[in-house]
Symmetry: C2
Subunit: 244 residues, 2 copies
């Protein structure tokens, strides 16, 4: 029997952990979602806190999401997605295409980080409420100057692909990541996102078809899928989503 | 003869491109630094601009650094470093250690991105001069709340390693990246960096020994190595480095 996959992520938000869950769920690969397991079974917030920032045994890690797989302990969201996807049929074959897929997934995570930074432009270590004015300015700059370029890029990548998906005719992990990114943006900035995606038919199509994948649909409709909220990467503050 | 490596990056700053150059130079692998070649030979700023953001032929890319290698076109700094390092003896062997090394390199690039954001906290699309007050606040938060945690993490990773380097007894690409990160931080925040690194002997040792590597030393002492300046990722604005 092969070693179990153990995902460590905060239990109260979808956050970056959700990008990893998307890969496990779509591939129908069993995994332990440690942060959401009871403390009596070695889970919960404490278990996540215990292995972060290099504490505890094993390869030191900086921040969740963290994946344990036998003696392998890795972190960085795009890297975990890549690792799981390459082992379970959600990555292209070959060194070149695999490196290209990783470029795409890392870029998805860059957009997620920028979306996060709109509500914490001055310092992630301080409260949103203490940087609201700067957040308004940062959100406007994100929606006006940055998001259109990112989405135009992904639209071009889909258009240029030889199939309906980023890497061709098969779904690979950057497609799942891009879909979840679109979900997060639509939650955080319903107005801004609607405007930004309006002229991008390939993105709209991806946004529609991914949740129809049979295995994944079961997960998305289940209560295992957490709702977005105001503690995670994507937050809906109506004041940051006004018409610019 | 194998396909040449062609690196596309802005010619006027070390920037993120320098992390890639470190790998090529240390491995003594020839590469074309397209942005720094004459326009008459198909190089220069125009050549970099031409292939970014999905324009032109080939796999669409969002931003430099970009690497062309035969039919493979990839982007994202840590991914390019990984790709080259795994082909030329600067990555560990095995799927698990390789994934761990990538975690480390991606984290190096996260710190670089946060260092960059101190001078552009509100919007990368606007001038530093228009966000100086927020930059002062962001730099203080970075030096006080964030950098100590990052450096403590890398110190712990070096201490926990079975050798002098992050992945053990041999230098791998995250060591080269971490070294260049330390150089950039020391340039941008001489006071803040000196304080932050004071209690970290393993980091100090890495900072000392990497430039003594014979092949790399030749590069670092050459005029091919660009100086840091006020246009790149790491910028020295004395007002952002006051004693907190």
């Amino acid at each position: 029997m092969s070693a179990p996959y153990r995902l460590y992520y905060w239990p109260i938000i979808p956050g970056r952990g959700e990008f990893v869950r998307m890969v496990f769920e779509d591939a129908a690969v069993p995994y332990e979602d440690v942060g959401r397991m009871p403390e009596s079974e070695g889970g919960g917030m404490k278990a996540v806190a215990a292995i972060m920032k290099g504490k505890g045994e094993g390869f030191p890690v900086y921040a969740p999401p963290i994946l344990d797989h036998g003696t392998v302990r890795i972190f960085q969201t795009a890297n975990i997605c890549r690792y799981v996807a390459e082992r379970h049929g959600l990555a292209p074959e070959g060194e070149g295409p695999r490196a290209q897929a990783l470029s795409l997934m890392m870029t998805v995570m860059d957009v997620a980080a920028e979306a996060h930074d709109t509500h914490h432009p001055v310092a992630v270590s301080r409260y949103y409420e203490d940087q609201k004015d700067e957040a308004k300015e940062a959100a406007t700059a994100f929606l006006t100057d940055r998001l259109p370029g990112w989405l135009a890029y992904f639209e071009a990548a889909l258009q240029r692909s030889e199939g309906d998906y980023l890497m061709g005719r098969s779904v690979t992990y950057p497609d799942l990541g891009l879909w979840h990114l679109l979900e997060g943006l639509a939650f955080a900035f319903p107005n801004g996102f609607a405007r930004a995606v309006a002229d991008h038919p390939a993105l709209q199509k991806l946004h529609e078809v991914i949740p129809r994948r049979p295995v994944l649909a079961g997960y998305l409709e289940s209560d295992r899928r957490m709702a977005f909220n105001e503690h995670g990467v994507f937050r809906h503050y109506p004041e940051l989503d006004e018409d610019g």
